[in-house]
């Protein structure tokens, strides 16, 4: 058994496999299928200062090797989370990380402050890239100055590990990553969903109530890998890679491209036990190739 431990901005993970926000609920939804304590971390769903109803139904459309969603940050607000959900999940023996969204900087700050007061939450993932609500942060995530301003404000009030989730819907993701690194982010996670759209030709209607939504699943993996590779050449902070990871092999590709850890998202819907299979598969790979530690393959892609 290889050493699977990795570190993300001061946070020690037992292995590099986490679950992506919005795809794994609060973890407990998957407790029948896997031992949650085996995970490197659980990133719980997008949380905002006030409760949000999200977008109207329909919110989902299947696409070739992927899916679009337009959930729109439905959640009961950070206070409800702290009072009612946190007590139920705080003792799961893995890192519970909260994904934080907001419509304005003050919201991000206020939400982060409340989460900072919860001892069993060692990190937040700042979502500056939700494509599904008008003020879901994507406006912040698509410019260097916007991204920097949110991170700067949150960094002041949030002393624990601060991960920033980046939008792929940009010309130069490496620039944005550098901008948030400069403001003190401990890590960047990428990619959030690609903005896409689906149409029912027969009915001549959009398949999502919001017309456009976020594309995820295996189809986006090549774009995600490329962006991780680009960001790995631009920043020194650890990268958490995600986007279409559906197997240990996929996860290893992200590690090789420069990610220190990964998140599994849409694949949880197809195989609710995929996370532990990926953990075991990474271990097998390391053993088979003679690596003592998973950190040995981070950024180990050979190019010439």
């Amino acid at each position: 058994m290889a050493n699977l431990r990795v570190e993300i901005g001061g946070l020690q993970l037992k292995n590099p496999v986490m679950t992506a926000s919005g795809t794994f609920g609060y973890g407990i939804e998957f407790a029948d299928f896997i031992d949650l304590s085996r995970l490197g971390g659980i990133i719980v769903k997008g949380t905002t200062l006030e409760a949000r109803e999200g977008n109207p139904y329909p919110r989902m459309a299947e696409t070739p090797s992927g899916m679009l969603n337009a959930v729109g940050l439905q959640n009961k607000g950070v206070r409800y989370f702290a009072e009612h959900i946190y007590p139920k999940i705080k003792d799961i023996d893995t890192h519970i990380i909260v994904n934080v969204s907001g419509a304005c900087i003050d919201d991000y700050v206020a939400t982060a402050e409340i989460i900072a007061s919860l001892p069993a939450i060692p990190a937040i993932e700042l979502n500056i890239s939700c494509p599904n609500v008008k003020q879901g942060g994507m406006a912040f995530g698509t410019s260097c100055s916007g991204a920097a301003s949110v991170v700067k404000a949150v960094r002041k009030v949030y002393p624990k590990t601060l991960i920033v989730k980046l939008s792929p819907n940009v010309t130069n993701i490496a620039e944005i990553a550098s901008a948030v690194e400069a403001e003190g982010a401990d890590s960047v996670s990428l990619i959030n969903t690609l903005m896409g759209m689906a149409i029912d030709a027969e009915r001549r209607r959009a398949l999502l109530s919001t017309v456009t939504g976020g594309l995820s699943g295996a189809c986006v993996k090549p774009v995600a890998l490329r962006m991780v590779w680009q960001v790995a050449h631009a920043v020194k902070i650890p990268i958490i890679g995600l986007g279409g990871i559906s197997s240990a092999e996929d996860a290893i590709e992200f590690l090789l491209a420069g990610a220190s850890a990964v998140q599994i998202g849409t694949a949880n819907f197809i195989d609710p036990a995929i996370t532990v299979k990926v953990i075991d598969g990474i271990d097998d790979y390391l053993t088979r190739h003679g690596f003592a530690s998973v950190t040995d393959i981070v950024g180990a892609l050979e190019t010439n």
Partner: protein, 259 residues
């Protein structure tokens, strides 16, 4: 209720007519079926179907405890269900099972409950009807279809309780839609409906006018099936809730339908 990811062996694939098949499945490892309630559904991974990325949710049609078989009624709607309907027997099919909630029992046994189904919507009513009968209720069925040939599993339903039929073309039973049927002159303890949404809305409205409690089975498009992705939400009096987890069975009083 514990959920499982299980491989099943397809023991029978029976064409009911052009558009429907009845699949019978048993756990591939020979273990007993896990407990499953009427109204619940399974989430199927369709094998070797290039255009099917996500699982397909399908209502539990029946549980045959004696033969350790789960029955599914599948309508060939899209690529996924067409692939499923074409699977040869002895195929291995992976399912997440069981998912969702169940129906509520009527308050009284001396008045019959009415189970109203349209098209493939009859699926969950067989298992629920059997369970009601087993618990001492006397369920009746009101089944609607376009034409006689579109009526599914009539013998199975007739073995449980009285079956009323409505066909659009009058080729069997009364002519017209289910809500036009004369059976509505009677009183029922509870109305359960599953079928196309306009039909369920009409039934819910009928039930409301008769002041009879009514539950419907929804089938919003879903991804995860376990309440994680929040894609399949229905707007209720409690806000958006997941059909896959808080449903698929809802009392129509919880819903925001215009009835």
């Amino acid at each position: 209720m514990k959920k499982y990811i299980l491989d099943f062996t397809l023991t029978e694939n029976k064409a009911l007519h052009d558009a429907y098949v009845l699949l019978k499945l048993t756990p591939a490892d020979g273990a007993p079926l896990p407990p499953m309630l009427p109204g619940q559904f399974v989430n199927i991974l369709v094998p070797d179907s290039p255009k099917t990325y996500l699982r397909r949710p399908i209502s539990i049609h029946n549980v045959d405890m004696e033969r350790n078989e789960l029955w599914l009624l599948v309508r060939k709607a899209g690529e996924g269900t067409k692939h499923l309907a074409a699977m040869p027997t002895s195929s291995i099919i992976n399912m997440v099972v069981p998912l969702g909630n169940t129906f509520s029992y009527p308050a009284q046994k001396h008045v019959a409950p009415l189970l109203v189904g349209g098209g493939v919507g009859v699926a969950p009513l067989l298992y629920w009807g059997k369970e009601l009968l087993r618990q001492g209720y006397a369920p009746q069925f009101l089944l609607g279809a376009r034409s006689k040939k579109d009526l599914l599993q009539l013998e199975e339903f007739a073995a449980i309780g009285k079956v009323h039929i409505a066909t659009d073309d009058g080729s069997f039973g009364e002519k017209g839609v289910v809500t036009q049927h004369s059976v509505w002159n009677d009183d029922f303890s509870f109305i359960y409906a599953c079928g196309p949404k306009p039909m369920m809305v009409a039934v819910a409205s009928k039930a409301k006018s008769k002041q009879t409690p009514c539950e419907v089975s929804l089938e919003n498009t879903m991804a995860c099936g376990v309440g994680a992705c929040l894609c399949c939400v229905e707007k209720t009096t409690q806000g958006h809730v997941c059909v896959c987890k808080e449903g698929p069975i809802f009392n129509t009083e919880q819903l925001t339908w215009q009835i």
